[in-house]
């Protein structure tokens, strides 16, 4: 199991708490884009988009590279799967518990049927 430092996870969750930033990640998952492209697609000012990209960059979810006058954004070294990893494992634990709980209900229902007879 890979361990993710808590500070990194925190930065990732903070970055993902915003719908625009999640949208940006989704878009960059399909193709790299410049800040200008992203600002247009999300109907936002350049300054606004720069801020969002900055947050994503800090969380290492996005990297940017400036060539000439254009800053291109692409997905960074940390992927979404890493962020949801802990939650996914937590979900699996509850899922396993609940599968057992389903069996308990089958058993309780059977007992009730027998008692009704």
């Amino acid at each position: 199991m890979v361990q993710y430092a808590r500070a990194d996870l925190d930065a990732s969750f903070a970055a993902l708490s915003d719908a625009t930033r999640r949208g940006v990640l989704e878009r960059l998952g399909r193709a790299d884009a410049s800040i200008t492209d992203l600002a247009e697609k999300f109907h936002m000012t350049l300054t606004g988009m720069k801020k969002h990209v900055g947050v994503l960059e800090q969380a290492k979810l996005v990297t940017t590279e400036k060539v000439g006058r254009v800053r291109t954004c692409k997905l960074g070294p940390r992927r979404l799967e890493a962020v949801t990893d802990w939650i996914e494992r937590y979900r699996q634990l509850w899922d396993m518990r609940f599968d057992e709980l389903d069996k308990v209900f089958e058993q309780l229902k059977r007992k009730e049927k027998i008692n009704e007879r």
Binding site: D10, R91, W94, M96, R97, F98, D99
Partner: protein, 169 residues
Amino acid sequence: MNARTESEPTAMKNRTTVEQKSDRELVVTRTFNAPPRLVFEAWTKPELLKQWWAPKSTGVTLLSCEADVRVGGTYRFVFGFGAGEPMAFHGKYVEVVAPSRLVWTSDEDTGGGAVTTVTFEEVAGKTRVVVHELHPSKEALDAARASGVEAGTLESFAQLDELLASQRA
């Protein structure tokens, strides 16, 4: 927040979803094919809790399970993690409303002082269960991730994997 995951729906099995609502809240949701009366019973009778709270597939065993389910009553669960030291978790029931609502606190030392609220809602003969876990602070949730029973359980999967891998090598 978008940190949300779901299991694959199948004809037989209902989906378990987990959502991180904030930096100190987690919400688990699942529907069961049983009326609230039965579901509530399974969450409040120790002999039933024992059957499902620590599933065998996790490698964790519930060594003892005491639960005095009434307002102000206490619970004490002791978990065994293979060869590791057993861990005891305790706390108090704050609200007990059969068959719709159950609230308990976890002891600060062992459970980080989280408050868990479980609601049981009837939906067309089935029961929708929502488990809402509220930690006193973001730090407390982080700590629970690292050292709570969930972490212990999840770690034990990883240890088992490692053990099997090392034995194969």
